[in-house]
């Protein structure tokens, strides 16, 4: 069985996010980038399944400009077998990504498609869901445990009230939550081997997908800085200020 994992290049979760002076977008110039942490968990899960003998090949796909090959290489260094980059100028909207991935899935015919539950930059939480709809495959989002059994996959999902366990027939689309696993560190020999693993580049045209824009980014503003507090002399004054100045009660 093949496993296909989608990974996104995002700003490193440790990096300080700056907004461009004209508020047009987040400033990514010289900012440290990394694999989206949820995608990394998906990669780790795929590799573990392969190590357990449940899969023979792990394919990593990323949509974006050439720079996202870095993230594909990182996934290859963790243990994935080969990579596919779908070359686009910017990283397109989720629906476009889902359509592109759907095409790759049709070509590769994996038994399992793993994604992160959401990307930490756009926080959309929708690509996996869209992909399963486009492919007509069963989906399990927010996976915190995953077991392959008798040609089915059993997934424990994080839900508000606790955990829900589903059994899906294969092929299926699954999105990873934080507790699914703790990704490993890449080993030096694997980092070096990753360089020699195949990485193919394709385009939306080759895949026959037309990219469409459904929404435009109008502006990005940083959170307002907290202003200094004031000292009040009495509870009455506090209540008065909360009522009339802060308008919160």
């Amino acid at each position: 069985m093949k496993i296909l994992v989608a990974v996104k290049r995002v700003i490193d979760y440790n990096a300080k996010v700056r907004v461009k002076a004209d508020n047009s977008d987040v400033d990514l110039n010289n900012t440290k980038m990394a694999i989206n942490p949820f995608c990394e968990i998906a990669v780790e899960e795929a590799i573990r399944l392969k190590e357990a003998g449940s899969a023979d090949e792990v394919i990593v796909v990323s949509v974006g400009p050439k720079a996202c090959q870095e993230q594909i290489r990182t996934a290859l260094a963790l243990g994935a077998d080969r990579g596919i980059q779908i070359e686009t100028d910017d990283i397109p909207e989720s629906l476009n990504v889902a359509k592109l991935l759907a095409q790759v899935v049709k070509n590769e015919e994996p038994g399992l498609v793993l994604l992160g539950k959401q990307a930490i930059d756009s926080d959309n939480n929708q690509t996996g869901q869209m992909l399963s709809a486009l492919l007509g495959m069963p989906q399990a989002t927010f996976a915190s445990e995953l077991t392959l059994k008798d040609g089915k996959v059993q997934v424990a999902r994080e839900i508000d009230g606790g955990s829900q366990t589903l059994s899906l027939s294969l092929p299926a689309v699954i999105t990873a939550d934080l507790r699914l696993n703790e990704p490993r560190y890449a080993s030096l020999p694997n980092i070096m081997k990753a360089k020699r693993k195949p990485l193919t580049v394709t385009t939306p045209e080759t895949l026959g997908v037309e990219l469409k824009t459904h929404s435009t980014l109008i502006k990005v503003t940083p959170p307002v800085e907290r202003s200094a507090g004031i000292l009040v002399n009495s509870v009455d004054e506090l209540v008065e200020k909360l009522k009339n100045q802060a308008n919160v009660i």
């Binding site: 110039n29 870095e70 560190y185 030096l188 020999p189 202003s227």
Partner: protein, 595 residues
């Protein structure tokens, strides 16, 4: 909680923008693997491991220390597991030959990894660090059979290594050492004697420990010409469950690096094997002395960087007193202490030493690559330059590393003296670096006596020529004048001072000793000045290109200016003291010292 973040931006600035690592590796035979993306990937992973695994163990190591129980040494909680992860990651193999299981990457890349590992947790880093020393010894002088048996296990990290030189009565003066090696009929030797201060001599992190021991054969000439090198394993490879007569008698209780075991090692007729030629042990050691010393120079950088990172965060956070020109943050109870000029001076001093120290060490590491991999003149020149720069890197960078660690503590005020913040640990841990691998005084004698005067100044010229050329090239660049003019003047003065000391030394050898440490420190300030000038040049070029990262390059220029105006003038007082002669030291009657 103190924290460490690998300064990847600055590391890549030095590596790629100042030292053009890509070209360096392309021109080196066997370094084709070290492409920029590979180097970047290794840095990323090394940073993750250092920040997430090693850094949290740094304080644990200090607080728990190592414990000894009837010869068994236990390392602090988490050390063993971290080592296991390091081995599983294949990191010990980075800069070793593929033939013996290594990854065959250049030594200079190993230094980059070691910087992160060592800054995150120096005590821990010494375990693989000492192994590296043992591996280099075997690599350079071992037979193929010895390499097959021992080197492969050290490279894989399954076993660790040590360097056993020091004995109770001799540290600096190894010519006096007494450990004996008795030849046996089967070609092995029985080693007997006591070694002290052996780092990583005993621990619970690996199944076997390979000691590289300096000892004397029965018929050996006295002094340094009668010392041989031996492999003495804790367990013989064909009897891994039995003792080989090597035991740890006790652990030293010491000022810092508590997480690393400093052992008294007893050899009681332990079986050992000769490495290299009999009686040539010290020569063998010298072949990679420069690499080893560079490893200790790195410790200076490590403590400066660590102190800087943590004191910078504190200086922005700690509110105390108002800026002299009136409140900078009127809405706060007081201003953060980073507004105060003297606090800034301490921060900038640490920053200036750490960043130029990094440039100097990475530069020297590229010379190590060339010595190892090039042939002919290129190898010879690199070797001569490295020999000259090594004592400066070792002694100067550890001295200013200690100074920096102290500034870091000072910025915390009284809290710096309290264990919780880790600043006093950083000072204590840094102190050893000026002692082992040859004290500052010994490095100074090596620099002035052996390297400079014994070559009639040739070694010095090798470097001043490079500086001269740099200043010449920038002669028409008006923006560089603030750096090149003082450098050019110092370059000239350096030669003159050397001549002066040399002349005086012809009458009286004590003149060399009396000038030595001042001369070394003077040289160190100039060498770092050169690297600041080079970094300033790159920053100016990048700013002119206007491709972004403006703040980073601006900060480089500001720090360079700080260095030239506030640190480099320290050379003035060194010139005076260095030239004041031996008499003010030697004329005091030994008995008069106590009055």
């Amino acid at each position: 909680m103190p924290e460490y973040k690998a300064p990847l931006r600055d590391m890549s600035f030095v590596l790629n923008e100042v030292l053009d690592a890509e070209r360096h590796y392309q021109n080196l035979p066997g370094c084709e693997e070290a492409t920029p993306d590979m180097v970047a990937a290794i840095m990323e992973e090394g940073a993750k491991f250092s920040e997430r695994v090693l850094s949290p163990l740094n304080q644990v190591g200090d607080q728990q220390g190592c414990t000894w129980n009837d010869g068994v040494v236990t390392t602090p909680d988490g050390f063993k597991e971290a080592y296991q992860q390091f081995v599983e990651g294949g990191w010990p193999s980075l800069a070793h030959e593929t033939e013996w299981g290594g990854q065959g990457l250049p030594e200079s890349l190993g230094i980059v990894l070691n910087e992160m590992v060592g800054t995150a947790n120096w005590s821990w880093s010494m375990y693989p660090g000492l192994s590296h020393g043992a591996m280099n010894t075997l690599d350079a002088h071992g037979t193929d059979e010895q390499k097959e048996t021992y080197l492969t296990k050290l490279i894989s990290g399954e076993w660790t290594g040590t360097m056993c030189l020091t004995e109770p009565h001799c540290g600096t003066d190894l010519g006096m050492l007494r450990t004996k090696a008795e030849p046996q009929a089967d070609g092995s030797y029985k080693i007997s004697g006591t070694k002290i201060f052996i780092s990583a001599g005993e621990h619970d992190m690996a199944d076997n420990i390979i000691h590289i021991v300096l000892a004397r054969l029965p018929d050996a000439p006295a002094g340094t010409k009668g010392i041989s090198l031996f492999i003495v394993p804790k367990h013989l490879p064909d009897a891994l469950n039995e003792s080989n007569g090597v035991s740890c008698g006790s652990l030293e209780h010491k000022m810092g690096i508590h997480g690393n075991s400093t052992c008294v090692m007893n050899f009681d007729g332990a079986t050992g094997y000769l490495i290299g030629t009999a009686n040539k042990g010290l020569n063998c050691m010298f072949t990679f002395m420069n690499t080893a010393r560079l490893g200790t120079a790195l410790q200076g950088l490590a403590h400066a960087e660590w102190g800087f990172q943590n004191s910078l965060a504190y200086a922005k956070d700690r509110l105390q007193m108002r800026a002299l020109n009136g409140p900078a943050y009127p809405d706060k109870a007081a201003d953060p202490i980073i507004v105060h000029p003297e606090v800034r001076k301490m921060l900038l001093t640490q920053k200036a030493f750490a960043e130029a120290g990094r440039a100097m060490i990475y530069y020297c590491a590229q010379l190590v690559d060339k010595v190892k991999l090039c042939e002919g003149d290129e190898k010879k020149d690199a070797d001569a330059l490295l020999a000259f720069l090594t004592p400066i890197a070792k002694a100067f960078l550890t001295e200013v590393g200690f100074e920096s660690a102290n500034h870091g503590l000072q910025i915390f005020g009284g809290h710096g003296y309290i264990a919780e913040w880790g600043m006093e640990q950083n000072v204590r841990d840094s102190r050893i670096s000026m002692l082992y691998e040859g004290t500052t005084q010994i490095q100074a004698l090596d620099l002035l006596g052996r390297k400079v005067l014994m070559t009639q100044g040739e070694a010095l010229k090798g470097f001043t020529k490079i500086m001269h050329k740099f200043c010449q090239t920038e002669a028409d660049n008006s923006e560089m004048q603030a750096f090149t003019q003082p450098l050019a003047a110092l370059n000239k003065e350096w030669g003159e001072l050397t001549m002066n000391v040399g002349m005086k030394a012809m009458q009286n050898r004590d003149e060399v000793g009396a000038a030595s440490v001042d001369y070394l420190m003077y040289s160190g300030y100039i060498v770092l000045g050169y690297f600041w000038a080079r970094m300033a040049k790159v920053a100016q070029e990048k700013l002119a290109l206007g491709e972004g990262d403006t703040a980073f390059y601006q900060a480089k220029l500001t720090t360079a200016t700080f260095y030239f105006q506030r640190i480099l003038p320290r050379t003035r007082s060194l010139v005076e003291t260095m030239q004041s002669g031996a008499d003010n030291l030697m004329s005091m009657d030994q008995e008069h010292f106590s009055f």
